[in-house]
Structure formats: structure tokens, C-alpha cells
């Protein structure tokens, strides 16, 4: 008699630790919710650095709500990150030059990888990527990392603008995004629960990435509110093991843009001396380009009484 014993069981989960890219000039920016100024901060910092004649690359990872693309290009025709991840475009095909002229006549340039072609969402291409991620995760991650390595080697600094974790982006997409950065920057507002959500999302989606800067944005520029926000610096340093915590006062100039169509960043239109927010962001931008590694953690803020 032959006895056949079959073992059924749960397929063992593949053990994977997301390891970011080696080159330390790549920063990914996340925020736990929309509307805290993630894209605005990324754009301003990028253009402050570009004005110092550094080569800056930007990648719009938010395929579902491509704010960075619409902010800098209006709408985008031709392939972008989505098409590259699907294997339909090469890194050289997806990089677009964006330039604005300052009031002094200086042309400031950055390179942008837009989220996708403008009709991709309507054509169901984003859904296709979600399906492809189930089947060909490793291949898609490889393409993403290749793009970032290419940008990192041809630019002085690269910024990835990530979608909000509470949005429609599937978990594997966040893992791919996390593989394509070295550092993580976090943008939150001064509401205490936002920091809690951010910490939770970092644990869920980016547990292995080192945090470089935490931007506390949109702080009411009145003494008692600003001082109270800055007092939270040690707590935020601990929560994220961040190198810097940057306290950005609310400044209408950063959001004084048209609802649709490309618009120049405030850092192109105004000098840092004309805007308190830009003053703080300029300081932060210089630390980012130098990749300073202070002992402990440093809070950057307006000098409060």
C-alpha cells in the first residue's frame, strides 16, 4: 500500500528588508496627509539649491495625484515615471527640463521626471501598474532603482516626492519607492496627531530608511504658537531619529500660485530676506546639499524670544 501524504500550508512570506540606494544624495519626501505642503517644500528647497548652480533632479511619485508635475509643468505629455516602471521608457526619455527666470533675470533649471503622460490615469495605466506589481515586483523595483541611480550620478541632488500613504497607492508601490531613496524627509504640520500618524506610516512603509529632515510646516507666525512648536524639537528628534527638525512659519507667498498650470516657486519670485519661510528653508537647503551629519539632532528655527 502506498500512502501519499500531502502537506498544505501557508506559503512562507518572502523575507525582504528594503535597502535604499547607496548614493546619499537622494531624498524621498513623505507626509502622512495631504495639504501640509509636502510638494511646496520640495519645490522651494529644490529651486533654492538650483539657484546656487547645483544640478537638481525631481521625481513625481504620486501617480494618483501628480501635484509636483502640475505645479512645474501644468500638464505633462509623453512618458513619465509610470511608463518607465512599466518598462515602456528609458531614464533618458522621461527627464524633462523645467526653468523659471528670477526677477534679476537668472534662469534657474531643474530636471523633472513627471508622474506619467497626462492621459495615463484615464487609460487605466495606473491600475495596470498595480496589477504588474503583483506579478513583476522585482522587475519594477529594478527599473525604479536604475532611474534613481542614473539621476543620482548625473545630478548633485535628487528629490523624490512620494504619494501620501493614506491614499490609493498600493503597499508594494511604497516599497518600490522606499527602495529608490537613501534618505527620508518628512513634512508635517504643528498639529500633534500629524507627527503620530507620520511615525506610524514610517514604521509601516519606510521602517528601514534613515530620516534626514522633519519639516514642521505652516506654523502660525505668532510668538506663542511658534515658540510652542519649537519646544517640541527634542520630541520630534527622538520620534524619527532625525538629523534635523526644521520649523517653517506659515507664509502665503509659498502658496500664492495659480490653481492650474505651471507656476514659478516663491524662491524664484522672492529673495529669502523677503519671506520668513524661505529664510528657514534656505538654511535647510544648504544642509541638504552638504549632507551635514551633526552630532545628535539640530532644530532649525527663527530665533524666538
Amino acid at each position: 500500500m502506498i500512502t501519499v501524504i500531502l502537506f498544505f500550508g501557508k506559503k512562507k512570506k518572502k523575507e525582504e528588508i528594503v535597502v535604499g540606494v547607496d548614493k546619499d544624495n537622494v531624498f524621498g519626501t513623505m507626509s502622512p496627509k495631504g495639504g501640509v505642503g509636502k510638494t511646496s517644500i520640495t519645490v522651494e528647497v529644490a529651486f533654492i539649491i538650483a539657484q546656487k548652480d547645483y544640478r537638481v533632479g525631481l521625481v513625481d511619485w504620486d501617480l494618483w495625484s501628480p501635484r509636483l508635475t502640475s505645479r512645474l509643468l501644468g500638464s505633462s505629455e509623453g512618458p513619465g515615471l509610470l511608463e518607465l516602471l512599466l518598462g515602456e521608457a528609458e531614464p533618458e526619455d522621461v527627464i524633462k527640463e523645467v526653468s523659471f527666470t528670477t526677477s534679476e533675470g537668472k534662469v534657474v533649471r531643474v530636471h523633472l521626471v513627471p508622474a506619467s503622460d497626462k492621459d495615463a490615469l484615464v487609460r487605466g495605466e495606473v491600475k495596470r501598474l498595480a496589477r504588474e506589481l503583483e506579478e513583476h515586483y522585482d522587475k519594477i523595483r529594478e527599473r525604479a532603482v536604475a532611474l534613481i541611480n542614473y539621476l543620482a550620478s548625473t545630478h548633485d541632488i535628487v528629490f523624490n516626492d512620494y504619494p501620501v500613504p493614506s491614499g490609493p497607492a498600493p503597499a508594494p508601490f511604497h516599497r518600490v519607492a522606499a527602495s529608490a531613496t537613501h534618505w527620508l524627509n518628512i513634512v508635517i504640520d504643528a498639529v500633534p496627531t500629524t507627527a503620530e500618524y507620520a511615525a506610524r506610516y514610517v514604521e509601516m512603509f519606510y521602517p528601514s530608511l534613515p530620516v534626514y529632515m522633519v519639516f514642521v510646516n505652516m506654523i502660525k507666525p505668532v510668538h506663542y504658537e511658534y515658540r510652542a512648536a519649537v519646544a517640541k524639537a527634542p520630541e520630534l528628534c527622538k520620534k524619527f531619529a532625525a538629523k534635523y527638525v526644521v520649523f517653517v512659519p506659515f507664509d502665503g507667498k509659498l502658496y500664492d500660485v495659480k490653481v492650474s498650470g505651471a507656476a514659478p516657486p516663491a524662491s524664484v519670485n522672492y529673495k529669502p530676506t523677503e519671506s520668513a519661510a524661505l529664510k528657514v528653508l534656505r538654511d535647510a537647503a544648504m544642509r541638504l546639499i552638504r549632507r551635514d551629519k551633526p552630532m545628535g539632532c539640530v532644530a532649525l528655527h527663527l530665533k524666538v524670544l
Binding site: E203, S208, K220, C297
Partner: protein, 183 residues
């Protein structure tokens, strides 16, 4: 906010929603930095009494910047740029929290406050513990003399162990010497 950026002239629309759910509309005219006229009138404090909401819209306003006139198309409201009498009216808008920035704060230089590593370390240990759990690993975290020991289960493959060490090195390597072992 500097003096040169005051709204010089233009039209401001003020909408007030009353308790009986009707809107009162005022078209306010600004000239030479002053509220000069209101259609049907310049609203007074009384007009805000039974208001539950009010909106101030600045559709096309001329700002003067360093001698040049600039058309403002944004709906962004910079309270400081409004003439004093409009600013006073704006403060009466119920349900909207408005603020006037502290000028000396905005003009302050950027400073830095250093939080020494010793103040951060204890919390970072908790963070590393959570991180290991999130990665689906079981292990213990111990700290002694700036060294962070992570002891994980023997069943963890060597490759994963190396990745974990690399990740911890990048994440907290500035604060600790990281040592990952199995036990």
C-alpha cells in the same frame, strides 16, 4: 511684511452669511491704500452681528512693490497687506481664525538648537525595536556604551542579517556602533 507690498487699489468682495441663511454682499473699493467706498455701503460692526460666516474675496487687486504695480490674482489672503480699516473688518469675520503675524518674529534670523545624542538615545532604542518587529523579525535590542546590540533568531538567513545590519548602520549609525548577532 514690508510697507511697499500694501494693496494700493482694487476691489474686495465681502460676503456675509446671516442666520436666516441669506447672503449680504458688499463690494469694497480701495484707493490709495484706503477703503473709500462700499456698495451698497461700507459695512459696520452691526452688520456682522447675526452673521454665521463671512468670506472675503480679492479678485483683482493692485499691489505696489518697489514702485511697480502688480496685479494680484490669487485668492490667498495676506491680512497684513490690507488697509487698516479693511483689516479691522476682517477681524470681525466669525468662524474664521485670522492672525496678524508678529513682525519681529518674521524678521528674526535663523538659529539652531542642538539636541545632544544622549537625549535621543533611549527613544531610538524603542524605535529600533519597533522597526525590527515591522520587518517581521524577532529579536532583542540592548545598548551599552554607545554600542547597539541586536540579537535576532538563529533562523534568520545570513543575507537578511546583513541587510538588517546595513539598514541599522544607515539609520542610527551616527548615534551607535551597530552589532547584529544571532542567538
Amino acid at each position: 511684511m514690508s510697507e511697499v507690498k500694501k494693496i494700493e487699489k482694487g476691489t474686495v468682495i465681502l460676503l456675509i452669511l446671516k442666520r436666516n441663511l441669506t447672503w449680504d454682499k458688499y463690494i469694497l473699493t480701495i484707493e490709495n491704500n484706503k477703503l473709500v467706498a462700499g456698495e451698497p455701503k461700507i459695512p459696520s460692526e452691526n452688520d456682522f452681528k447675526d452673521a454665521i460666516l463671512a468670506l472675503l474675496i480679492i479678485p483683482h487687486t493692485i499691489k505696489k512693490e518697489e514702485g511697480f504695480e502688480k496685479l494680484v490674482e490669487s485668492a490667498g489672503l495676506d491680512v497684513e497687506s490690507l488697509p487698516e480699516d479693511v483689516k479691522r473688518l476682517v477681524q470681525l469675520i466669525p468662524g474664521i481664525e485670522l492672525f496678524i503675524p508678529d513682525k519681529d518674529l518674521l524678521e528674526a534670523n535663523v538659529g539652531e538648537t542642538v539636541i545632544p545624542p544622549e537625549e535621543i538615545m533611549d527613544e531610538v532604542v524603542n524605535m529600533v525595536e519597533t522597526m525590527i518587529k515591522e520587518l517581521g523579525l524577532e529579536g532583542q535590542v540592548k545598548v551599552a556604551n554607545h554600542e547597539l546590540y541586536v540579537i535576532v533568531s538563529k533562523r534568520v538567513p545570513k543575507k537578511v542579517l546583513q541587510q538588517l545590519e546595513k539598514v541599522l548602520e544607515t539609520r542610527v549609525g551616527d548615534l551607535f556602533r551597530v552589532k547584529v548577532t544571532t542567538g
